[in-house]
Structure formats: structure tokens, C-alpha cells
């Protein structure tokens, strides 16, 4: 869908993007992660052709990205904004027409969306009469109204209350199911694991990590397991086939230990523990994206 190759963007005094390459597969949800000021918005602006890279190329469905692709992209900027004094219905139609829709087409689609999100009564309202969350909802509709193939969302969940955020999340998933490719940047790591098929982590203008979420998380496994048992508290004297990381007592005489294998396997652990107590659970600890994110970012600092 989107192939970003060796993008470099230099601003006076600092380099916003340094040789960044990404592949966004068609029909997938792609997360763009990174701390503030990493260069996410710079990259998103380049994909939207708001600014141009100093060097590097972007391909959209195999063609070099140009003005003709603008109508196929929907963009929700991080800094939300609409005309404050313009009626919402009129404004949405205007924005959709700028993306190439006819007036009749835009009106029909807008009716559909307003009904879907319970906004029918907003048509004649002005943005200044709405709450912040409401205007964000309107802006989301403006982003997807022209049924873009690629939807780019910069921090889509910021500013939404949890209910609205959930609603938007469901809409994103539904649009994705209908075939839209979605690229979004976020700080909310739990939404990354929930939504994203693949991610890229950008830090200090460089891409430091990318790939499928599952693959990345698996590659960060480090033989750590959680074991929960019921019975008398076990004391480990060093003879056990693992290193103990933590040991927490739970309710009803249960205990949870976190352990790291030392050249052994999970089977060895079970064999060692089974005669001693009643095992409720053994689970491999897969690092969350949040942990990987923090680890990676701190590593570079």
C-alpha cells in the first residue's frame, strides 16, 4: 500500500527524519510510535504531501506518490480544528468536496455517518456550539467521509473521553474490515497491542524498530515465566532449575512467582515443582509493547 523509502527531512538546525524506511501493508492497521518530537508528525505530513522530503521516495500502491493520490487519503491531524463559525453539515460537505466528492455524494454519505454516530441534530450547528469531544467526533467523520483507501490518524484517541474513544476505535476497526488501510500514531500502548498488525518505532529522527506486533513481542521474550501455585509457601535454596525474580503471596493460600530460566526449559520447571505443590498456572511472560518501547527508548538515551 505505502512504501516509504529512505526519507530524509532537514529543518533549519535539526534533522526531523533521518533515512526512515517503512512498509505499510494493504488492509492492515499500522502504528507509528515514538516519544514526542521523534519525527512522527513530520513523516505524516510528508505522506500527506503537506511538506516534501529532502530526499527519499514514497510509493502509493506501487506508484510514486503525487497529487492524484490526495483524494485517496484521509487525514486527521493531531491539532484538531474546523471552521468555528461554519455550520457543521456545510463544513463537512465542503471538506469532502475538496477531496473530490460531488455535493450530492457528500450529502448522502454525511447523512449516513451522522445517523450512525447519532449526530443528526448537529447539521445546522456551529463548531463553537459543540464540546471538544463532539467536535472531535465531527472531525473524525470529516476524515473518513470520502471513503479513503488510506486513513492517517495522528493521535486519534487524544482528547476523547473513554466512551467516545471506544466508539472511534470500533469505527476504525470497522473501516479496516471494509478494506481501508490505517496508519496511526499514538502514545497509548494498550491501543497498539489491541489494534495494530504492525508498528514502527521512531526515536530521535530514526526508525529503531519495526515489524509485526506479534513478531516483535516474541523476539523480546527472555525466558521469563509466571507460575501460580496453591499450598504452603515454597522456599527456594538455589537448587531449583531457574532464577527467581519475584515471589508474591496472593489470596487463599496462593502464591505467584516470576522466574527466569537458566538454560533449562519450562518442562524442567514443572517437573521440579509438581511434586512439591499444586500448580494452577504456568504462563510465559511476553513483554508488552509499552515495555519494549521504554526499553528501546532508554537504550538510545
Amino acid at each position: 500500500m505505502l512504501s516509504i523509502r529512505n526519507i530524509v527531512k532537514q529543518y533549519a538546525g535539526h534533522r526531523a527524519l533521518d533515512d526512515v524506511s517503512l512498509e505499510v501493508e494493504s488492509g492492515k492497521i499500522f502504528g507509528l510510535l515514538g516519544p514526542n518530537g521523534a519525527g512522527k508528525t513530520s513523516l505524516i505530513r510528508i505522506i500527506n504531501q503537506i511538506t516534501a522530503p529532502d530526499s527519499g521516495e514514497i510509493y502509493f500502491n506501487g506508484h510514486k506518490l503525487d497529487q492524484s493520490h490526495i483524494n485517496r487519503i484521509g487525514y486527521l491531524p493531531e491539532e484538531r480544528g474546523l471552521y468555528k463559525k461554519m455550520e457543521i453539515g456545510e463544513q463537512m460537505i465542503y471538506l469532502a468536496r475538496l477531496k473530490g466528492l460531488s455535493r450530492a455524494d457528500a450529502t448522502a454519505k454525511l447523512k449516513f455517518w451522522f445517523e450512525k454516530l447519532g449526530m443528526e441534530t448537529w447539521w445546522k450547528k456551529k463548531i463553537e456550539e459543540l464540546s471538544k469531544g463532539m467536535s472531535q467526533k465531527a472531525q473524525f467523520v470529516a476524515t473518513v467521509l470520502h471513503e479513503p483507501d488510506l486513513i492517517i490518524l495522528d493521535e486519534p484517541f487524544s482528547g476523547f473521553d473513554p466512551v467516545a474513544a471506544e466508539l472511534i476505535k470500533d469505527e476504525i476497526l470497522e473501516l479496516n474490515k471494509k478494506g481501508a488501510t490505517i496508519l496511526f500514531s499514538t502514545h497509548r500502548m494498550e491501543s497498539v497491542e489491541e489494534l495494530c498488525d504492525a508498528i514502527a518505532l521512531i526515536h530521535k529522527s530514526r526508525k529503531i524498530l519495526d515489524g509485526r506486533v506479534k513478531t516483535i513481542r516474541n523476539s523480546y521474550k527472555n525466558d521469563t515465566y509466571l507460575v501460580e501455585y496453591t499450598g504452603e509457601h515454597l522456599a527456594f535454596d538455589g537448587a531449583q532449575p531457574f532464577d527467581l525474580i519475584s515471589d508474591v503471596a496472593g489470596e487463599d493460600n496462593s502464591h505467584t512467582i516470576k522466574l527466569k530460566l537458566n538454560g533449562t526449559t519450562a518442562n524442567d520447571v514443572l517437573q521440579y515443582l509438581l511434586p512439591k505443590t499444586k500448580i494452577n498456572m504456568l504462563q510465559e511472560v511476553i513483554p508488552s509493547m509499552n515495555e519494549i518501547f521504554i526499553e528501546k527508548v532508554n537504550l538510545i538515551k
Binding site: 533549519a12 505530513r45 500527506n48 504531501q49 503537506i50 511538506t51 516534501a52 529532502d54 497529487q67 490526495i70 483524494n71 487519503i73 487525514y75 491531524p77 491539532e79 484538531r80 480544528g81 474546523l82 471552521y83 468555528k84 463559525k85 461554519m86 465542503y94 471538506l95 468536496r97 475538496l98 477531496k99 472531525q139 470529516a142
Partner: protein, 417 residues
């Protein structure tokens, strides 16, 4: 291109629909109507002297007795009664005045008394006659032969302003032409400012409301800027069009209501009708459009460089300086010397030409070649400022929270895409 049309449409429609716009369309012709009514009223009042005025004279000096002669609507009469009696009789008759000439009239003031404030026509006539009598008396007192002097002074010269044109000479009422010239200068100066500022405010609005990023992910910044400038320009033309139509209609009405034959309004209208309004209007629209394009591009660049209207001051000053400068020169100097070298030069430079040329045009003496050069330079000028402004604008609209300086703007100009 289609997208530019959409933007033009939005900019135009949102502004034209505003209440303020609709109110302005009617307020200005109403003001014109009101003013013509006022002028008509004043003119009528002035004519009130058609009632004969009687001026009773009490002359303590004796120098003027019998020498004041009756003028049109003014009769002089020796008051054969004491001043106190005469004063009481003033209360009964509005058309009666009392002229008190003290013994030593060169040192003490001469007084004229009446029930209402004496009109200028009466006081003017009295002054004129008394001065003539007094100076004749002084001449005699100093043994100067007044008969000879009068003979020598026979040649009375009046200057008749005539304009030589290809078809012959015609009367040129200089005062009216000057008035039209100054009015044109003021009108074009104000409208360049008003509509330029509207463009700037529109840009700032888009920037502060952050919708700019949504829009320029759909269209190029230049398209947005162009659409806005053209849209607001059309609003300006609509406003002028409506004003012209309504003013013509309302002054027709005013003319009917207040001008009988021989009234001063009819005179003014007669003079106005000799002015080639089609030519002036054509020039006005051309210089408004090109001047507007030139300045509004710069205004748009300023709007893109700031985060709020209060920050615009430092940039506005150098931009509006040539305009303000020409405007001030126009209403003080240029209208008196519309073909002076200064006026000619100012009407050539694109930044000053709209105002300077509109002062010159009503006088009708602008050579076609000057007009042609000025107009071509205007076109070159606005293309140039649009190019410069667009380069600053495309960078500026995405810059937030940065206080831009002129150095910064220059840097933006040289940014690559």
C-alpha cells in the same frame, strides 16, 4: 482548478451571508442619501434670505450715513430712534436687524443685532460695503484722488477655469473634480485596507483554528491562498456594485426631492454630470483589483506568519507605509497638482499607484501612455508580490508558536518545498 473554485465559493458565500455585509450594503447608500438630504436642507435654509431684510443703522460716527445702499433682499434705513427703542423692536420682527456703528469705528467693534443670529449674507454685505466706504474715506482724508484711483482700478480680472480638450474648451469646475479625486483616493485607500485585512484575518482564523492542516492535505497552500484572495475580492466587487446601484437610485430620489431649478444641488449635479464616470469607474475597478491583489497577497503572507492578530503590527507597518504615505500626500498635495512629477512617479510605482492614479484620473489629464505603463506595472507588481507571498505563506501556515521575524520570513522564502 476545480478545488480553487470551491474555495472561492466558500470564501465568498460565508462572507456575503454575514449580517454585517448586508447591513453595510444598505448603510452606506443611506448615509449618502442622508447627506444629500442634509445638504439640500442647508441650501434651502440659505435661500431663506428671499425674505427682504431690513437693517436699521445707528451711526454715531456719521461716516456712513446715507452711504449704505440697498442690495438684493437687503434694505438699509436710518434708525430715527434711540438704540434702546430700536432693540425692543427687534423682538417683533425676524427680518429686522440693527447695525450699531460706534463713533470710533476703527478701534471699537461694529455690532449687528437681530432676533436670530444674523445670516452670513447680511453680515458679509455689511462688511463689504463698510470696508469700501471706510477705505474711500481714508483715501479722501489723505488727499488721494479717488476718481483717478477708481479709473485705474477698472480692470477687474476673474479667472475662468477652462480646460482645453480635443473637442474644444469646456468649463471645468475644479473644486468638484478635486472633490472627486480626493474621494477616489480615500475610497481606494480604505477598500484596499479593509479587504486586505479581511484576507489576513481569514488566514489567521484558519491557522489558529488549526483547520489549515486539514485543508492543505487536500489542496496546495497556493490554491488555498489564491482562492481566499479571489473570494474576498469578489466580495469587495459585490459591495461596490451594490453601493453604486443603490447610490444612483438614492441620489436620484434625493435629486427629485430637493432640487428645484436654480437650487445649488442642481448646480452640483450639473457639474458632476460633466465628469466621465464610466472612465473613472473603469480605472477605479482596475486599480482596486490589481491593488487589492498586490496588497492582499502581502496581507496573506503576514497572516500566515503570526499566531494572532495582535502580532501583526510589526509586519503591517512596512506594508502599509507606502499606501498611507501616498494617501496622505494625495489628500494634501497631489490633488492640487495632479500632473506634477511627484504625482506622475507615484502613479507609476505599483505600491503607490492605486491611490496616486485615482487622484489623477478624475482630472482627465493622464496621458494614455502613462496609464498603460502604470497598469502594466500593476499587473507585474501583483504577480511579483503573489509569488513572494505564496512562498512565505506555504511555510508560515504550518509554523506554530514561533515568533517570526523578517529574517525568518526571508528564510522561509528560500525553503524548498
Amino acid at each position: 482548478m476545480n478545488k480553487v473554485l470551491l474555495i472561492i465559493q466558500r470564501e465568498y458565500v460565508t462572507r456575503v451571508r454575514k449580517k454585517a455585509f448586508i447591513v453595510m450594503i444598505f448603510v452606506v447608500p443611506a448615509l449618502i442619501l442622508g447627506m444629500s438630504a442634509l445638504i439640500g436642507f442647508v441650501a434651502k435654509n440659505n435661500q431663506e434670505l428671499s425674505n427682504d431684510q431690513l437693517v436699521k443703522v445707528i451711526d454715531e460716527s456719521g461716516a456712513f450715513v446715507g452711504k449704505l445702499h440697498n442690495a438684493k433682499h437687503i434694505k438699509f434705513e436710518d434708525a430715527k430712534q434711540p438704540a434702546a427703542d430700536a432693540k425692543t423692536s427687534l423682538q417683533q420682527d425676524e427680518n429686522l436687524s440693527l447695525l450699531l456703528i460706534p463713533k470710533d469705528y476703527t478701534k471699537k467693534p461694529v455690532q449687528i443685532l437681530s432676533k436670530k443670529k444674523p445670516t452670513y449674507q447680511v453680515t458679509g454685505e455689511v462688511e463689504r460695503q463698510m470696508n469700501a466706504i471706510a477705505s474711500a474715506k481714508s483715501l479722501v482724508d489723505h488727499h488721494i484722488d479717488t476718481a483717478l484711483l477708481n479709473a485705474l482700478n477698472k480692470n477687474r480680472i476673474t479667472v475662468n477655469a477652462m480646460e482645453v480638450t480635443a473637442t474644444g474648451t469646456k468649463d471645468a469646475n475644479l473644486a468638484t473634480t478635486m472633490g472627486v479625486g480626493v474621494a477616489c483616493a480615500i475610497l481606494i485607500y480604505l477598500s484596499l485596507f479593509i479587504y486586505g485585512a479581511q484576507v489576513m484575518r481569514g488566514v489567521i482564523e484558519e491557522k489558529t483554528s488549526r483547520i489549515i492542516e486539514v485543508i492543505i492535505s487536500s489542496v496546495k497552500p497556493f490554491q488555498l491562498m489564491l482562492g481566499k484572495i479571489i473570494g474576498v475580492g469578489l466580495v469587495g466587487l459585490t459591495q461596490f456594485g451594490a453601493w453604486i446601484i443603490l447610490s444612483v437610485v438614492s441620489s436620484k430620489i434625493a435629486g427629485h426631492a430637493f432640487s428645484g431649478p436654480g437650487s445649488p444641488i442642481a448646480g452640483a449635479v450639473a457639474v458632476l454630470s460633466t465628469i466621465p464616470f464610466g472612465y473613472i469607474l473603469g480605472c477605479f475597478i482596475f486599480y482596486f483589483l490589481t491593488g487589492y491583489l498586490l496588497y492582499s497577497a502581502l496581507f496573506a503572507a503576514v497572516g500566515s506568519a503570526v499566531d494572532s492578530e495582535t502580532e501583526t503590527q510589526q509586519f503591517m507597518f512596512p506594508i502599509t507605509l507606502p499606501l498611507l504615505f501616498t494617501y496622505l500626500l494625495s489628500v494634501t498635495v497631489l490633488f492640487q497638482a495632479p500632473d506634477s512629477p511627484l504625482a506622475v512617479w507615484l502613479s507609476m510605482i505599483p505600491f503607490t499607484a492605486p491611490v496616486a492614479m485615482m487622484v489623477r484620473v478624475p482630472f482627465g489629464g493622464v496621458p494614455p501612455w502613462q496609464l498603460a505603463i502604470s497598469m502594466s506595472l500593476m499587473v507585474v507588481g501583483f504577480l511579483f508580490t503573489t509569488y513572494v507571498a505564496a512562498r512565505i505563506y506555504r511555510v508560515g501556515v504550518l509554523m506554530y508558536g514561533k515568533k517570526a521575524s523578517f529574517k525568518e520570513l526571508a528564510k522561509w522564502f528560500f525553503y524548498k518545498e
